[in-house]
Symmetry: C3
Subunit: 141 residues, 3 copies
Amino acid sequence: MRSAEYRPGRKLIGRFEHDSELLKSVTDFVKEKGIKAGVFSILGAVKGAIIAYYDQTKHEYREVQLDGPREIVSCTGNISLKNGTQFAHAHIVLADEHGNVKAGHLIRAKVFAAELHLQELLGPELVRKHDELTGLSLWEL
Amino acid sequence: MRSAEYRPGRKLIGRFEHDSELLKSVTDFVKEKGIKAGVFSILGAVKGAIIAYYDQTKHEYREVQLDGPREIVSCTGNISLKNGTQFAHAHIVLADEHGNVKAGHLIRAKVFAAELHLQELLGPELVRKHDELTGLSLWEL
Amino acid sequence: MRSAEYRPGRKLIGRFEHDSELLKSVTDFVKEKGIKAGVFSILGAVKGAIIAYYDQTKHEYREVQLDGPREIVSCTGNISLKNGTQFAHAHIVLADEHGNVKAGHLIRAKVFAAELHLQELLGPELVRKHDELTGLSLWEL
């Protein structure tokens, strides 16, 4: 395990705007606040979403479109720097009216109502760089 | 995004009583400790649960009853004030013996065994008020 | 609820090695860092995994083997002491290429790529002891 140590920065509680885009709202928020590293979680509900699965052989994301309202039953993510700017990486678990679940890498989602908890991390720059082996942008640690 | 900034308060680790009610246990705990805002997560197993899905058109919760034992594979929540008292809002993901999953807004669940991690948040009062647009009790930020 | 209060220790961000074992990597990491109590979450993807469901009547884990790549859409866990050494307890939610989900108690998983956020907790020793009623190793609080 490669690792780095951080000090706690601000703890922020947020309320997403109705009809906003979930992931963009997080990215805009951290840019506005000048947060360069952090971890967050989100609870709430969306009107629809696009999630993705990473094909580990072909090195490409395959998207799954989820139409219609769903509960955000889990959404965990982190903030780091990619190409010199803030990048939010999040995975999301969504439940429908029967409690059935779809989940994956979050591409985008339209907010019905959602609550954010974000912990800023202070310390060394946390930077994503292309990793040849996986084809992903991984942390340089 | 509307937001507010908090300072870290107490970090609490808890063990739920066997056969207790999951959400009520959290609410009773934060009242006893005088915690007015916070975020928490729970791991463990339940003997049964009732979860819900919010109908975004009719503005009402639809409950799904889940009988029988399940693992709590994720449970994320927060504490804020509603009608002048502590209110716990949590979403839960439950897995059965085959690893199959049901998830939603947590109404109640009977504890087999469960572990709590709760982070108290210190700062401005975090208050829920009725929101006309969604029909939900959302944070006034 | 039995509980104990902790102070925040180190906040660590980690990148798992490709092809490493997920749970063992966490345990090795906390041993190396001298972390005796903590909470963590993981995002990423695995090449395969074994999860488990605890039979609440027979008091035994039943394993479910999941072959093939999946996204880690949620993985929440904690560190405490069991038999005098660091023990990682984690539950995991995994999604396949269609966004379909399997979840349970994490036994082991082979890392494709994964990101760790771990919060060290400082305070009283957090120790697991056998609990007669559930058959599990629960915290002595």
